[in-house]
Amino acid sequence: MDENEAFEYVKSTLKKEKITPYHSDELEIVKSIGACINCGLCINHCPVVASVGLDRFSGPRSIAVELSRSPPEFWATADKVYLCTGCGTCREVCPKNVNIPEIVNIVRANIFEHRPDLVPKGLMIVKEIIEEHNLAFEPWEDKEEKEESRDMRLERLGIPYIPDVVKENAEVLFYPGCQAEERAQEVREAAKAILDYFDVDYTLLDEFSCCSLPSHLMGDAKTARNLAHQLKGKVKKLGVKKVVTTCAGCTSNLADLSVRDEWGAPAYHLLEYLVEEIGFEKLADALKKVAKPNDVHVSVHDPCHLIRHTSRQVMEHALNILRLMPGVRVTESVEHDNCCGGGGMVSFHASEVANSVVQENMMALEKTGAERLVTPCPLCTAQIENNLFKSGSSIEVDDLTVFIAQRLPKKE
C-alpha cells in the first residue's frame, strides 16, 4: 500500500470507529472543556434546564464532564445536545470559562458525519434548503410576490423604499442575513433606509448567501466551511472595508469568520456601526427632527448572539440610542438577557422546548407594563412575537432596526 492508499485506509477505519479528528482550530475549544470542575454553577443558569428540567436536557455540566469525553460515543448524545440553544449563559457564568456552546457544535458535527439518522429531521430539512439555495429559508418562488410583500410591510411601517445598490469598493457591505433577506424583509429595508439617511457608502451582495451559522449549529461542518469560503470570496471581490449586519447570529458568526479566515474587513452589528461610526451626536440630531413622535413605552430583549457571543456593550448602545428618542420610555425587564429559546436551531426541531424557554421572558415582559418589545435580531423577534401572539398578549414586537428607521425623519 502506498502512502495515499494508507491514508485512505486509515480514514475508513476512523470512520468505522466514529472518530472525526479534531481540526486544529478546534483544539482550543476542546482544551477549554478539560477545565470543567463539575461545580454545577451553569445548571442553575441554563434557560433550557430551567424550563424543561434536567431529565429532558441534562444541562451544560453534563456536556462537559460526561457527553463530550469520548468521540466514538458522541452519537449517543443525540437526545441531549440538540436541545442546547447555544445561548452561552453557561460559558458566561462558568468560573473556568468552559466553552460549552462550541463543544456542542463539535459534538453535533460528529453526529452529523457518523450518524446522520440521529440528526433531528427539522434540521435536515434546513440542510436541504441550504444545499439547494445557499439560504437558511426557502426563497420566494415569485419575485413579484416577494416585492409586493416587501412594499406592503414598508407601507404599514412607514419606512421609505430605497432601491438596492451593488457596487465594488464601497466602504460598507450591508449583509441582512437569511431571515431579513427572505422573511423579515422590513428589517433589510429599514437598515438600507438608515444607512442611506446617514449617507453611508454601502453595497449589498450581488447574490446573497448564508453566513454559515445554521450549518455550523446543526453540525454540517463541511457546508459551513464551504459557505464561509464562498462569502469570503464575495467580500474580497467587492473590496469593502467593513461588513454591517442586522442579525445577531450573523454578527457573531461574521465577526468570528472575519478573524478566522482573515477577511481584512471587520464585522459590525448595525447598532455598533451607528454608535461607533456615525456617532451619538448625529443620531441625536436626526432623531430629534421628527415633528410629532408618538409616545411609546418599550422594553428590550438582548439577543444571546450579541451579548454573550459578541459583547454586552452592543445592548448598551441599543439602550443609549433608545434614550435619544423623543417620546420613547424604556422599562427594563428582569429577564432582558434570558435566551428566547430559538437559538442553536432548537426552534427548528423542538419548538415545544423553544416555546417553553420563552415563557420566562414573556412573564417578565408583562410585568414591565411595556406596550412594545424591541430587539436587534429578526430571529428573536419572530420567536417572541409568535409566542406573545399565541398567548393573546397585546404587546407588539419590533426589530430594533425597524424601530429606529421608523423614528428617523424624512431625508432632506
Binding site: E3, K31, I37, N38, R61, E66, L67, K80
Partner: protein, 554 residues
C-alpha cells in the same frame, strides 16, 4: 470454621485467577476462588487494557502467535467490552524508521486473523490531519491497530461466569496457611475472612496460585521458595480522550511508551522499574511522571497542558529472568508445579504472563489440574461467550422504552452488553432509580443497586471497579456520598462503617491524585476539599480510621 471440599482452590482474583476459576468451573470441577481484596484490585486493575498483538516481543514468535490467537478469541467471547484503537507512531528522524522495520514485519505476520491491516507509513500531512497536536516537524508516522478490553469488567465477568458454572467466588479472603500432610500433599487451605474477622478452612488437593505479585508470598505459606521479578509500572490518566488516536513513541531510554484513549479517558504509560516495595501502597513517583511526560512531549508538545486527573501504579509479576532489562524478560508465562521438584504436591504457581494471554494460561493450568484429577475434559473458554456478549443491543429502542438517556445506556452497554436489561428491568418497579449518581461516567442508581446485589462488592472501591464510579474528571467529588448511602442501605452498614468507607474511597482516589496534582486538577481538588472537609466535616470525624501510608499525617 467452615469446612467444605473442593477439587481446586484458585488463589487470586486478577485476570489469571478469574480465568482459571472460569475454566475449572466450566469443566465441571468444584472450584473455589479466594481473593485477599477484590476482583481486579491489583495488577490488572492498573493496566491499560491492551490485548496486545505482542509486537514488542518480536524475539518470541510463539508468544506473538499466541497473543494474536487470543485476540481473536476475545473478540469472539467478549466483544461487548472490546474496543479497537487506531495508533500512530510518529517519527522525528530517519533513524527511528530504520530501527522499526523489524517490528513492522513481525507485527504484520498475524494481522489477517486479527482483522487489522499490516503496519503502514503515513505522510506528515496525513499524520497531522489525523492528529493536529503532533509535532509539526515529524517526517512520517507508522500506523497500526490494537484491541483493548475493559480489564475490570473482564475479570468480573470471568468471575461471574465461573459462579454461573458452580464456582464459589470469595473476595476479602486472604490465604494464610496450607494444610500439608507427611507425604507433602496439600490437604487444605486456611484463610482469613477480612469482612467477618474469622478464620476458615476448606479441603482440597489442588491449589492454583495466581496471586500475581504476591505469588512468592503465597508459596512461602507452603514453605516453598518461588523466585519472581517484580516490576513497577505507572500510568498518568487524563480527563477525557485528548487524542484522536493512540500515540506511541520511544522514550528517552529506548523503551516504548504510549498514549492510548481508553473508555472516556486517555492513559499515558508506562514505566518499568524493578521494585521491592509493597504493591498495596505503591504510588507513582515524580520521576516516573516526568519520564512519561517528557518522552511523550517529544512528539506531542502540548501534552503537559492537558488535564491530568491522576496516576495509577501496579506491579508486574515477571518470570525471574535477571541481568537483563525489563523489556527483554519473556512475556511468556511459567507454571511451576512445586510437587515436581520434591516440593509441595498439589501446588501450582504462575509466573509471568500478560492480560491478553490470561485465558491461555488458564487453559494450560486447568489441563494440568484435570490431568492430576484423572479427568479428560475439553476446554471451552474460547468458544462460550462471557455474560452479556450474546447479542447486539439496540440502545435507541431501549432509550425510548425506558426513558433513560442514550449516553447513560451506551455506557451501561459498554459494561454489561445484553445483561444491561436486568438493570433496566429494575427501573420498571422503581422509576426513581433512574437518577444519575455518578455524573461523569454516568451511572444510574439502578445499576449501583444491581451491582451490589449480584456482583458482591463490599466497598465503594469495589463499586468503582465494577461501574467506573468516581473515575471521571471530578474523581468522586459528587458521587461518593450518594453511592455510599445506597451501599449502606443495601448492605445494612452502620453509620461509622459508612463514614470509614467514604474515607477509604477518598483515600484511594487521593493515592492517585496526589502524585500528579497540577494545573486544572488543582481547582478540582479545591472543590473536593470544600465538599468533604468544609461541608462534610470529614477531616474532623472521630470515627476509627487509620490514615493510609500515602496520606500525610496530622
Amino acid at each position: 470454621m467452615t469446612d467444605s471440599k473442593f477439587d481446586v482452590v484458585v488463589i487470586g482474583g486478577g485476570s489469571t485467577g478469574t480465568a482459571v476459576a472460569r475454566d475449572c468451573a466450566m469443566r465441571g470441577l468444584r472450584t473455589l476462588l479466594l481473593e485477599r481484596d477484590d476482583i481486579a484490585s491489583a495488577t490488572v486493575g492498573t493496566c491499560a487494557g491492551m490485548i496486545s498483538s505482542g509486537l514488542k516481543y518480536r524475539d518470541e514468535p510463539d508468544i506473538m502467535k499466541m497473543c494474536s490467537t487470543e485476540v481473536v478469541y476475545w473478540n469472539h467471547i467478549a466483544r461487548h467490552i472490546v474496543m479497537k484503537n487506531p495508533i500512530l507512531a510518529p517519527l522525528l528522524d530517519l533513524s527511528d524508521a530504520a530501527s522499526d522495520s523489524s517490528y513492522m514485519e513481525s507485527y504484520s505476520e498475524h494481522v489477517e486473523e486479527r482483522d487489522v491491516p499490516a503496519m503502514m507509513f503515513l505522510t506528515p500531512d496525513a499524520t497531522l490531519e489525523i492528529e493536529p497536536m503532533l509535532h509539526p516537524e515529524i517526517i512520517a508516522s507508522v500506523y497500526y491497530e490494537e484491541y483493548f478490553i475493559d480489564p475490570f469488567r473482564l475479570c468480573l465477568l470471568q468471575a461471574l461466569d465461573a459462579r454461573n458454572h458452580g464456582a464459589e467466588i470469595r473476595t476479602y479472603c486472604e490465604v494464610i496457611d496450607f494444610e500439608i500432610n507427611d507425604k507433602q500433599e496439600i490437604e487444605g487451605v486456611i484463610f482469613y475472612n477480612r469482612v467477618f474477622g474469622t478464620t476458615e478452612r476448606v479441603t482440597t488437593k489442588l491449589v492454583v496460585n495466581a496471586a500475581g505479585p504476591w505469588a512468592h508470598k503465597v508459596a512461602k505459606s507452603a514453605k516453598e521458595e518461588l523466585h519472581i521479578r517484580l516490576n513497577k509500572g505507572a500510568h498518568v490518566i487524563f480527563d477525557r480522550r485528548i487524542v484522536n488516536t493512540g500515540i506511541t513513541v520511544k522514550a528517552m531510554d529506548g523503551r516504548w511508551v504510549y498514549l492510548f484513549p481508553h473508555e472516556n479517558t486517555t492513559l499515558l504509560g508506562t514505566t518499568a522499574l524493578d521494585t521491592w516495595e509493597d504493591p498495596d501502597t505503591l504510588v507513582a513517583s515524580f520521576d516516573e511522571i516526568e519520564y512519561l511526560l517528557q518522552s511523550m512531549e517529544t512528539v506531542l508538545p502540548s501534552i503537559r497542558e492537558a488535564r491530568i486527573i491522576r496516576t495509577m501504579t501496579g506491579v508486574r509479576p515477571l518470570v525471574p529472568d535477571f541481568k537483563v532489562p525489563e523489556r527483554n524478560v519473556t512475556r511468556g508465562y511459567r507454571i511451576v508445579d512445586h510437587g515436581e521438584n520434591d516440593g509441595t504436591k498439589g501446588l501450582l504457581s504462575f509466573l509471568g504472563g500478560k492480560l491478553v494471554t490470561c485465558r491461555h494460561m488458564a487453559e494450560a493450568v486447568t489441563d494440568l489440574v484435570c490431568e492430576k484429577l484423572g479427568k479428560d475434559i475439553a476446554c471451552t473458554t474460547h468458544e462460550k461467550p462471557l455474560p452479556g456478549n450474546e447479542d447486539d443491543v439496540d440502545i435507541i429502542a431501549l432509550s425510548k422504552e425506558y426513558d433513560i438517556s442514550l449516553h447513560a445506556l451506551e455506557r451501561m452497554r459498554a459494561r454489561r452488553g445484553t445483561e444491561m436489561l436486568k438493570v433496566l428491568e429494575m427501573t420498571k418497579e422503581h422509576p426513581e432509580w433512574k437518577t444519575t449518581i455518578c455524573t461523569c461516567e454516568p451511572i444510574i442508581e439502578a445499576e449501583i443497586r444491581l451491582s451490589i446485589r449480584e456482583e458482591f462488592p463490599q466497598t465503594l472501591n469495589d463499586l468503582r471497579r465494577r461501574l467506573r464510579l468516581g473515575t471521571g474528571p471530578c474523581q468522586g467529588t459528587f458521587c461518593t456520598y450518594k453511592a455510599a448511602s445506597i451501599l449502606s442501605e443495601e448492605l445494612g452498614l452502620a453509620g461509622d462503617d459508612f463514614l470509614v468507607d467514604i474515607l477509604d474511597f477518598r483515600a484511594e482516589r487521593w493515592k492517585g491524585i496526589r502524585q500528579s496534582m497540577r494545573g486544572e486538577q488543582l481547582a478540582q481538588e479545591e472543590l473536593a476539599q470544600g465538599m468533604y472537609a468544609c461541608v462534610g466535616n470529614l477531616d474532623q470525624s472521630d470515627v476509627d480510621y487509620d490514615l493510609k501510608p500515602w496520606e500525610e499525617g496530622h
